[in-house]
Every structure is written in C-alpha cells, then in structure tokens.
Symmetry: C2
Subunit: 139 residues, 2 copies
C-alpha cells in the first residue's frame, strides 16, 4: 500500500467530516482503492476479514450509511435480498446480471432516457434509475 494513497483517503474522510479511524480508513481503502465497486455489507465484511482488519458488522453498516450520507457512496436497489453500495457516485445506469447478482455501470451518456411524462403533482425528480436486467443466454 502506498503512503500517498493513505493520505488521500484520510483527506477524503476529513472532507466528509468523518474522523479517520483505523476501521474507517481500512474500509475506505477496500472501497476506493481499486476502481469501481458494487458491494454488499456482508461482502465488505468478508473482504475486511480477509485483509485482516478487525471490524464488526455493525461498524460496516454504520460506515456504509455514513459514507452514503456524505456522498462518497450511493445505495443501489436492485435486489430485494440485500442492499448494494456503489463507489461510482456520478450519474449512471446499471446492468444487473440476474444469476450472479453482479452489477456493471453504464455511463450516463451511453444510454438516453427521453420523454418522461409529467410528474405527479407536487413532486420533483430525485433520480432516474435505469436497470438493464440481463441473464445468461441459454444455449
């Protein structure tokens, strides 16, 4: 692990008004050091165990929510059985592979949504989420 990386992560946390504790830094590292990730709490917990980071599941949940509130993560609802968190916070859409439960980002500009009808009275758009559900071609 590179020293400057840790410094960057610490700044990222501080900017979000989150104290860079040992656990928080470790999670930030697991989440943000390696390209885009789409991860569940359970998965992140086992990643942490594998990396020999002692951290409880409660802390994982706490931090996933704090990161989300701070705009460092985005929660994704694609599957009723558990919540996913996406490290890509830019507007984007998603492929969801139904068999594997895998997510893949679609850049916003790679997909167009047009002609949204009038919104229900007294509401404004908070987001437009497109999920392209795919499944393995049986052959």
């Amino acid at each position: 692990m590179v020293q400057s990386e840790l410094v960057d992560l610490e700044k990222k946390l501080r900017d979000a008004q989150l104290r860079p504790t040992k656990q928080r830094l470790a999670l930030a590292q697991l989440l943000f050091s390696d390209g885009n990730r789409h991860i569940t709490a359970e998965r992140l917990h086992s990643d942490a165990m594998e990396a020999n980071v002692a951290i409880s599941l409660a802390t994982i949940y706490n931090n996933l929510h704090q990161f989300t509130a701070a705009g460092l993560l985005r929660e994704v609802v694609v599957d009723s059985s558990s919540s996913y968190f996406d490290t890509n916070i830019a507007p984007r859409h998603l492929f969801f592979h139904e068999q594997s439960g895998t997510l893949k980002d679609i850049a916003k500009d790679d997909l167009k949504v047009d002609n949204i009808p009038p919104l229900p009275e007294g509401t404004e758009i908070s987001s437009v989420d497109v999920i392209v559900r795919v499944s393995s071609t049986r052959r």
Copy 2:
C-alpha cells in the same frame, strides 16, 4: 360483488393451473378487481383482514409468488425494506414517491430508452426497468 366477476377470476386461476381455493379467490379479488395495484405482502394481508378473509401471512407470500411465477403479477424492486407486487404485467416504467412509498405506472410508450450499450458477453436482456424517483417539492 358481481357473480360474473368471480367466474372470471376462477377462470384466470384455472388457466394458471392454480386451484381456486377460498383464499386464492379472495386474494385474486383484492388484487385484480380494482384497476392497477402496487402492493406489499403486509398490506395485502391487512386488506384481507379488513375484508374479513381469514388467511395467514404464509399463504399471502405463497400466493404472491405463485401468481408471479404464473405471470399474473410482477415483482418490483424499488425499496430495500420490502417487496412490491404490481398487477400491471405489461411493459411499463414507474414513478416511485420516496416519502410515501407510492408507485405509479408509466406507460411504456410515454418514456423512451435509447442507445443501450452492448450487453455483457453471453447475456440477453430480461427487462429494462426505469424508476423515476420523485420526492415532494419542499416550499
């Protein structure tokens, strides 16, 4: 309740290879007699209680899944806290009101999705779901 309605519902169930039991007919009535519905298991259960239909929650879940497997309902994933079932099985998109948890269909032709990028290798589209999340305008 109209007699012919019951006959229709019974046929609908038989066509789906589901025996028209007392509970199943009652649920079908609650679900399909009154325009489009977007409903959770808990909500359907309390509707049934109000209508004086004795039915257990396990049976509600069993039937929601059987109806879904038979193509009479469609499961909608919009909210991580509980599953919704939609009586509109035609292709459509959805408004989701974040404060109230209310869903509203958007006819397929009222919204256009274009330029879906190449699918992941070895997959085919199973559905394209657009959820327009709206929230009350604060004013």
